[in-house]
C-alpha cells in the first residue's frame, strides 16, 4: 500500500478527479494548501505599500492505493494535472504500513 500525495493547481482538480475515477479509484481526500516554489507569486498593493504573495493556492490530494495501482495512478495524475507551466506541482509517494476502513474494520487492500 502506498499513499500518493499530489500537489496540483486548483483549476486541475476536476480533471484529476475524473481521471482517477476512470481508473476505478473510489476515494480520495483533498486539502486546501498553499505552495512555495519556482512559480513566482504576485505583488499586491494595499494603501500605497506593495508586498509579495509567495504562497500560491494549491490543492493537495491524498490517495491510498494498492501496490498494483501505484504506477497507473501516478501516470493518470501527471497527465491530468499537466499544463506545462511552472507550478504544475509534485507527486510524492510514501509507504503505508496499514489502512483501515472505520465503518467495517476491513484492512489494507479491502479498505481503500
Amino acid at each position: 500500500m502506498q499513499l500518493i500525495i499530489a500537489i496540483i493547481k486548483p483549476a486541475k482538480l476536476s480533471d484529476v478527479r475524473e481521471a482517477l475515477e476512470e481508473l476505478g479509484c473510489q476515494g480520495m481526500t483533498i486539502t486546501e494548501v498553499r505552495g512555495f516554489g519556482r512559480q513566482k507569486g504576485h505583488t499586491e498593493l494595499y494603501r500605497g505599500a506593495e508586498y509579495r504573495i509567495d504562497f500560491l493556492p494549491k490543492i493537495r490530494i491524498d490517495i491510498a492505493v494498492i501496490e498494483e495501482q501505484v504506477e497507473a495512478v501516478i501516470d493518470a495524475i501527471q497527465e491530468a494535472a499537466h499544463t506545462g507551466n511552472t507550478g504544475d506541482g509534485k507527486i510524492f509517494v510514501t509507504p503505508l504500513s496499514k489502512v483501515i476502513r472505520i465503518r467495517t474494520g476491513e484492512v489494507d487492500r479491502f479498505a481503500v
Binding site: K9, P10, A11, L13, E32, H42, T43, E44, L45, Y46, E50, P57, K58, I59
Partner: protein, 390 residues
Amino acid sequence: MSLSELSYAIDTLFILVSAALVMWMAAGFSMLEAGLVRSKNTTEILVKNILLYALACICFLNVGYQLMYGNSTPSDYAPNAYIFFQLVFVATAMSIVSGAVAERMKLSMFLIFAIIMTAVIYPVSGSWVWGGGFLSQLGFIDFAGAGVVHMAGAAAALAGVLILGPRKGKYGHSGAVYPIPGANMPLASLGTLILWFGWLGFNGGSQLTIHNMENANSVATIFLNTNMAAAAGALAAFLITRLIWRKADLTMILNGVLAGLVAITAEPAVPSVLSATLIGSGAGVIVVLSIVALDRLKIDDPVGAISVHGVVGVYGLICVALTSANASLSNQLIGAAVIFTWVFSCSLIIWWFLNRAFGIRLSVEQEYTGADIAECGVEAYPEFVSAKGR
C-alpha cells in the same frame, strides 16, 4: 415667511430626502453585486460601483443634464434639490450595467463606457420622455423610470454581455449550465433590502411635490404600492422556485423583490393597492423564468440584471396600459422599443469599438486569478481560506 415659501421648503425637503434615499441605492447595488460575484472579483466590483457613481454624478451634472432638460429649472422647489435627484437616477441606470458584466470586464473599459452612457446615451433617450421630447408627446407613460432608467440600463448591459461573452466555465457542451454561486449571501440580501428602502425615494420622490392633499395622497400611494409590489414579487418568485425545484432559492427571491420594484416603477401612483400586488406577483414569476431562459441562451448575467431591469422593465411599461386610463398599449410598446433600440444600438457600437480597439475583456489568466488581484491589488477577504482555490 409665507404659505408659498413653506410649500417651497416642504417640497425641497421632500425631494432631498428622496434623493438621499436614491443615493443610498448605490450602496444597495454595491452590496448586491459584491454578494453575487465570487470572492476573487469582489474588491473590483466594489471599485466599479463607487467609481461609476462618482462618474455618473460628474458627467451628468456637467454634460447630461443640459442634454436632457435643457436650461429649464423648477420654481416650486430648490433647483439644486432637483438636480441632485436627477443625478442619482443616472447612477442607478449605470449600476445595472456593472452587475451584468461582472467578473470578466476590464475596469478601464467599464469606466469609459460609464462616461459615455451617463453623459450622452441616457440623457438623450431620457429627454424624449422626461425632457418634453417626442415620446412624452406621444403619450408614453413612464412615471419613475422603468423604461428610462431600468430598461435603458439593462439594454446597455445586454449589449455589453453580448460583446463580452460568458464567464469561463459557466456553460458546458450540449447546453450544460454550471452555476457559479456568489460568495456572500447576507451581503446580497442586504443590498436588496437597501434597494427596497431606497426605492421608496426613487418612486416617491418622482412625484416631486407633496405640498397639498392631492400630491400627498399620491406620494403615500406610491410608497404603499411600491412596497406591496416588492413584497408580492418576493413571494411569487419564492412560490415558483419552490414549485419547480422544491427549494427556496434565496437569490431568486431577491431578484423577485427587485422585479416587483422595477415593474411598479412605470406607474406607481395610479394602480389600486391590489393591482400593485398583482403587478408585483407577475414580475416575480417573469423574472425567474427570464433568468432561466437567458441561461439557456448562454447570456451570462451573474446578478440577473438584464432580467430584473430589462425584461421586467418592459413588463412594467405594458402594465401601465392596463391600469392607467391615459396610457395605450401601443404607445407603451413604441416607447419601450424606441428606448431599447437607442440605448442598445449605441451601446453595442461603443462596446464593439472598445473591444476592437483595446479589448474589453480580462485575459484568461487574469479572469482565472480574479479581477481583484489583476486590477486592484488587494483581495476582498484576504484572511479567509477559500475552498475553491481559484
